[in-house]
């Protein structure tokens, strides 16, 4: 097996170890802890007041626009990384192209800003 695959196999071993540790500790806790069930205990805790309605109540998500903006910016950051890792090799040409790209990014951000998308709506 190549070194490349082995390094990623280590990632798998680490996740297995994390799950094992979590399972082990939770299992130990399950073996030790007491259980005295009563109906009141299993009501959702909302500062001692009986909850009104369902826990999954509708609420206004104020920043859904930010989530969209985030996706755009994150994808564009992905395009920046390969150039960044070899910025010297691409030289002035790569620099100019990428600076135009970054300015476009900034322009998009300022456009969203001007449209008033970056405020508490």
């Amino acid at each position: 097996m190549s070194d490349f695959l082995r390094d990623y196999l280590n990632v798998v071993w680490f996740s297995v170890a994390a799950l094992a540790i979590g399972g082990l500790l939770l299992g130990l806790a399950a073996a030790i802890r007491p259980t005295f069930p009563s109906a009141e205990k299993y009501i959702a805790y909302e500062s001692g007041v009986d909850p009104v309605g369902m826990g999954w109540s509708q609420s206004q998500i104020r920043y859904y626009v930010f989530a969209l903006l985030f996706v755009i910016f994150d994808v564009e950051a992905v395009f920046l990384f390969p150039w960044a890792a070899s910025a010297e090799r691409y030289g002035t040409f790569g620099l100019v192209v990428m600076l135009i790209f970054i300015v476009l990014l900034l322009d998009g951000l300022f456009y969203a800003w001007k449209r008033g998308l970056l405020r508490w709506v």
Binding site: D3, R6, D7, Y8, N10, V11, W13, F14, S15, A17, A18, L19, I21, G23, L25, L26, A29, I32, R33, P34, F36, K41, Y42, I43, A44, Y45, E46, P51, M54, G55, W56, S57, S59, I61, F66, A67, L69, F70, F73, D74, A77, L80, F81, A84, A85, A87, E88, G91, G94, L95, M98, L99, I102, L105, L106, L109, W113, L118, R119, W120
Partner: protein
Amino acid sequence: MHQLAVEIPYWGQSIFRVLGGLVAVLLPAGGIVYLFLFKMMSFMQSRLGPMEAGPFGSMQLLAEVGKWLQKEDIQPDNADKTIFKMAPVVVLLSTFLLIVVVPFGPDAFFADLDAGVFYFLAVGSVSVLGILMAGWSSANKYSLLGGLRAAGQLIAYELPMVLATLGVVIQAGSMNLNRIVEVQNTGEIFGIGILGNPFILTQGVGFLIFMIAVQAELTQPPFDMPIAESELVSGYMTEYSGFRFLMFFIAEFATAGVFAFIASVLFLGGWGVPFTWFGWENLDDVAWWMNVVGPLIMFTKMMGLVLIIMWVRFSSPRFREDQLQTFAWKFLIPLSLANIAVTAILKVVF
């Protein structure tokens, strides 16, 4: 990969690495909780902190774990039980996956990933998934609000972190964290090559942005709206009790340690000591002893950075939700884009 003096079979190496990883996650977490959360916080608030268990309360951690193990496990009737149980494990898993990429010495790394920077940025976001799962599955209005706030905050501060890291990648010319450490310790600054160049000197702005983003990603005050105990009763953790709560708690401080490790790799020269010359014309000459000294140096740097994180945590009030978003989108992101542009120009021109 350098040759080890003793040839160890792959399965032996793997066990060795996983054990090392456990130590690298849990030892900093314990150290941070005892030194900073118990003792430093107490001294800053003019009290002694835990004093009963062991000398100066040093056994307090064991006592706490023993206590949490014996707590009753309460799951609300309305909760989505499967996801409710999975959420703390997902958060803990994210921490363990993060440590994989951190190099502690020339050979003392867990995995030598060429796309290391990508990897830690990607895996670091897995904890958001766990937090959203916890917030949604609890069927509690506080938890739901806390989970949504956490998602909004982590989205907003993921970007400055990505862009601040981009500056380091431009300067190092590599996304491999081992390579980034080498470049910092063998590189030159202002034409003087023998001292090395920890990137905090040339990427100071990036370092500041990165640390602010780390503070927000860890939901430490002043960015702790998702867990705001005075208004949301610990947000997404409201319904958790017993050991599942403790897993969230351990993961929070272990992640603080791991992010401090990553920050010291990216900006403080990793396992090398800045401004000292190790005779690094040939890395193999120092490899045999740097493998032992490197982890100690990394641990020192990590504790120093966590000290700053905790200092800010203990001494600052909470932001408002919209202030937090405004700060990220209107200040940090334009600043980090400008930082990238300046870094790239200087890198190519000089």
